[in-house]
């Protein structure tokens, strides 16, 4: 004789199908495929492989930033300073390169990660130790870091001819047919995936965001987890700073301005719960790719530039709502199965 409570969920044992449908990423994947198909009908060139690569190239930076954002949101935080961090670090390494063109790229890569990570650490320490709510902290550093770009640059830009060829070429030199930018993006995604799913530290981000009190009960330090998340987000922002200025061969004061909300949007579209504790790397990848496709598709199918923002907003809304609805329906269906089983 089985207890009722045990029987209740025998439906969960679940066919493979159930387990797959329960993943809301699938919804998003379907939406993306439909979107690409629709755009492809309108503009067949959009479906060419070269085109896909170029969209990927264009999306990598957003994707990387969103991965950092994911780490922070998982701990029930938010990092609105990523774009400013990116701009600052980008300017800093570009100026370094301008002043000392001989410094090897690998040093600059290390420096960008380090600078970004320190800016992130400042956020993290103040949030975790100083108990400043993340949104307030990063709203603050959003303007502080952005202002610092102005301070170190004196308002001037660093342009292509002031950069060493190695610096200018860093984001786009090709390896096995793909530009380095894409390789770095893929590598970062893999590392973040490994960190979040297969290390203690990564899982602890989920725990802290899900239930901080309970995390405390099992000895998971919320302080350390939050600092880790912000450092990760900062480090990625720093690295993307270098990639950005290298890709566009120009370091400016308003680099990536307004990008912070885009990373949040990509995360939310990717199914990351803004309340913390739930969200996945595949989801974020799809969320960022979705946004990237929307942006690129609109320029390709010849939508009037004046329509682009409205359409982008509308599509984001639809994706978020559809995603939530699907998720809810799956949940309802699963628990229903559980009850009647």
């Amino acid at each position: 004789m089985e207890g009722i409570s045990n029987m209740k969920h025998s439906g969960f044992q679940g066919t493979l199908l159930h387990r797959i449908i329960a993943r809301r990423e699938i919804t998003l994947l379907v939406i993306i495929v439909l979107l690409v198909a629709a755009v492809g009908i309108r503009a067949p060139r959009f479906l060419q492989p070269g085109r896909q690569l170029s969209i990927l190239n264009d999306t990598i930076i957003l994707l990387m930033l969103t991965l950092g954002q994911l780490a922070v949101i998982l701990t029930a935080g938010i990092d609105l300073s990523v774009a400013s961090n990116l701009a600052f670090t980008g300017m800093a390494v570009a100026m370094w390169n301008m002043m000392m063109p001989g410094v090897p790229m690998i040093v600059l890569v290390g420096a960008s990660i380090l600078i970004g990570a320190s800016l992130g650490a400042f956020n993290g320490v103040m949030v975790a130790v100083g108990k400043v709510p993340p949104i307030i902290m990063t709203l603050g550093t959003m303007s502080v870091y952005r202002g610092m770009v102005f301070l170190i640059s004196g308002g001037a830009w660093v342009s292509a001819h002031q950069m060493s060829p190695a610096f200018r070429g860093f984001a786009r030199f090709s390896f096995l047919g793909l530009p380095s930018l894409v390789w770095i993006g893929v590598l970062t995604t893999g590392l973040v995936y490994l960190f979040l799913n297969h290390t203690k530290g990564g899982r602890e981000l989920y725990a802290v965001g899900d239930n901080e009190t309970a995390a405390g009960f099992v000895g998971v330090s919320a302080t350390r987890a939050k600092i880790k998340a912000f450092v990760l987000s900062g480090a990625i922002a720093g690295l993307t700073g270098l990639l950005w200025v290298s890709r566009y061969a120009s370091a400016q004061n308003d680099t990536a301005i307004g990008f912070e909300l885009e990373t949040v949007a990509a995360a939310v579209i990717g199914g990351v719960s803004i309340m913390g504790g739930s969200g996945s790397v595949p989801g974020v990848v799809l969320g960022a790719v979705f946004l990237g496709i929307v942006k690129n598709a609109l320029t390709v199918i010849g939508v009037s530039p004046f329509w682009q923002m409205a359409i982008q907003g509308g599509v984001i809304l639809i994706a978020i709502v559809a995603n939530t609805l699907m998720d809810r329906r799956n949940q309802a269906r699963l628990s229903m199965n559980g009850v009647s089983a």
């Binding site: 100083g130 709203l139 550093t141 303007s143 939310v268 982008q312 907003g313 509308g314």
Partner: protein, 340 residues
Amino acid sequence: MSVSQRLVKTFVRWEAVLVVLLVGVFILNTSLSPFFLRRVNLLNATYNFMERAIMALPMMLIIIVGEIDISVAGTIALSSTMMGLAMQAGASIPVMVMVALGTGLLAGMLNAVIVLRFRVPSIAVTIGTMSLYRGIAYVILGNQAITGYPRELAAVGQGVVGNTMFPVPLAIFIVLAVVFGVVLHRSRLGRCFYAIGNNATAARFSGLPVDRYKAALFSLNGLVAGFAAVLLTSRILSTRPNIATAWELEVVTLVVLGGVAITGGKGSIYGVLLSVFTIGYLRFGLSLINVPSQVIGIITGLLLVGAIILPGLFEKLSNRMIIDRQLIPEIDSEATATDA
């Protein structure tokens, strides 16, 4: 000292910090620029931040019930656009104002419907509608600007009350602040807002119409954004789809610097008032001595963080002192008592 007294103290202390900041801003600015402490300058400076200040009032309520609205700036752009279309269609000023308010209200209601009907987090929804609303303004206006508003319209956003030097927007803000303050702190509604923000489930189980209140607040936020659009349009007597760019985060900043917890359930009108004037006059004072805007950004950013961190530090220190002074001696006396 009970926990509640302690909370009350923290709360009071928060506002105390803001008062100190505001006074500090005044002293600093007065010593740095001879132009700061002139009545006309102090009054005129407010024109520039009153739209955002007014937006902070309903945003405060939205954040207190545990939601957020990122689409306000987009709503302002859209409302101003509609107002401009009405003007071009020959509408009188009152009709134009109604159109702006109506547009804002509709935008707010759409937010409410999506958030509440589909149960999507409001930050996600309003990031979407932020682009949608401003995007519609772009669709309508393209690269055109609407100009040719009647000069009388200027009386709202640029005008003064009667024969005084008192700016109309400031007067409106003060009236609204009083209304919002009374509603939040004295009325049944305000109590319900705090309860919803703290625990929406318990509020619903206590018979409060949680969704209806939230819907009303989103709509109100839109309505007030429509009104802010009237003020802004009247101040610049023209409309472009890119007006009020990035104001959403500035309005949120005003509210959270005012001590309103972003997680909901906590905050006061006094804090928001203080933060409005602290930030407003800090920026004004710094620009009087021609500090570069980016540096002003750094200073306000640090202020935001500092204003949060300092009270916490004080509290920690004073708590340690309370425990030191009150509890330890007691333990000592007991210890000696058992020794004896």
